[in-house]
Symmetry: C2
Subunit: 239 residues, 2 copies
DNA sequence: ACCTGAACACCGTTCAAGT
DNA sequence: ACCTGAACACCGTTCAAGT
């Protein structure tokens, strides 16, 4: 198989994204990737520093594809749209959140921070101060990553999955309603659904919490506070 | 080095937890694990089915160490304490959320589902119906996993970290306040903090959203709904 | 019953060598 | 300038062999 044009970084990243979509993060190896490009593994190192560089590259690509929200919309809507668009971009390429979570990739382009900047701006406008920004942003980011990882999990095996699914079935049948009364009642409702609508509802739940916190102003921004295992009537000074 | 007593499953799991705490999920290999036990890698297979079995085993251990909430406390407090205790148990052993996220482990003991059962019970009591349980539980789970993964990330490198930290510094200095005005303003506030208090505040934010949704009753439980990218003046079914 | 050595099929990466 | 082959230091796991 002769190749007219030589390889380049963009072609390597294209192929990496395609291979990862097929086989997941584990299946994305330098050797297999090279094979899809009709080349030996070592040839890749002429166009890419190492595997981390590839993962950083695809993360950067996916991040820069995030649509930005209308800057004139009210802040809760801006939060909602920014976070949802981030979710959508990452959900389309599950390798990226996976690689970020395992620290195999790191977001390292400034452009990728634009949606984050929008988010921070919306939160400032909502009235959160510097100390409220951090946990609030953390909540939004965690929701995105957590949702992606929990629903994306096993997406590699998902297609092989005959035996897997049967094992899950067996596990569910072993559940004793006497020991797990609530969970066993919820099992039918917890079966696989389209993850995006569920994410949207979860996000709205969180945003309604943000709205309540913003409305109550500083000092009372976090209801329901108190140390975890001790009862306390006083609420130690928040924000 | 002579050993009086032979190995057993519990000792293997102990050593695995210890090695993973030192070296992270990547550092936990069968060969290295065997070495810490003064044995060859292949000896482990007499006590454990394979590596997945080890990861399942430590996940099960950590999960069964989750303290349960007082069943007589009001439902929002029960949600808060259950989720917080889950967070704490997993935060003490970051390999576990990591292994679950990468699908290298799967929770497969019924006992591990007890906290989840408590959570579902609290949500039913709050008035969520079957269709509301799923996204609500998803939001709580996602918050826990997302928070753990985002703050745990790089915990392996964290101790090596001189060069790493310097690189982060350089990245932050490259940020142009003209292009990322909000984010650059927030940088000081976003610097590393103790993650647990931030998690608690994020959780309280979400719970206040749950309380609002529960109070508004079925049918209007999710404020701020509406399609993502279209502007809308009307807000369907707000609280 | 428990452990080991050699082997197989994989990894990422380096280095000298080819064109 | 770009690619390759051989090699190094790793993986998880199987299998026959040792005690």
């Amino acid at each position: 198989m002769t190749r007219r044009e030589p390889l380049n970084r963009e072609k390597v990243l294209d192929a990496a994204l395609a291979l990862a979509a097929e086989e997941g993060l584990k299946g994305l190896s330098m050797r297999k990737l090279a094979k899809t490009l009709g080349v030996e593994a070592m040839a890749l190192y002429n166009h890419v520093r190492n595997k981390t560089d590839i993962l950083d590259g695809i993360a950067e690509r996916v991040y820069s594809g995030i649509e930005r929200a209308d800057p004139d919309s009210p802040w809760p809507e801006r939060v909602r749209v920014t976070v949802l668009n981030t979710y959508r971009a990452l959900a389309a390429h599950p390798v990226v959140p996976m690689a970020l979570a395992t620290d195999e990739a790191n977001p390292n382009s400034l452009q990728a921070l634009l949606p984050l900047d929008d988010l921070v701006g919306a939160l400032y406008e909502a009235g959160f101060d510097d100390d409220g920004i951090r946990p609030t942003l953390g909540a939004l980011n965690s929701l995105v990553f957590g949702s992606l990882l929990l629903t994306t999990v096993g997406f590699t095996k998902a297609r092989k999955g005959e035996a897997e699914r049967e094992q899950d079935e067996r596990f569910l049948r072993r559940i004793d309603p006497a020991v797990l009364p609530n969970f066993s009642r919820a099992i039918p409702a917890l079966q696989a659904h389209d993850p995006e609508p569920d994410f949207m509802r979860a996000l709205d739940l969180l945003i309604s919490g943000l709205v309540a916190a913003a409305a109550s102003g500083p000092g009372t921004a976090w209801p329901l506070r108190g140390p975890a295992r001790r009862r306390r009537d006083r609420r130690p000074g928040s924000v």
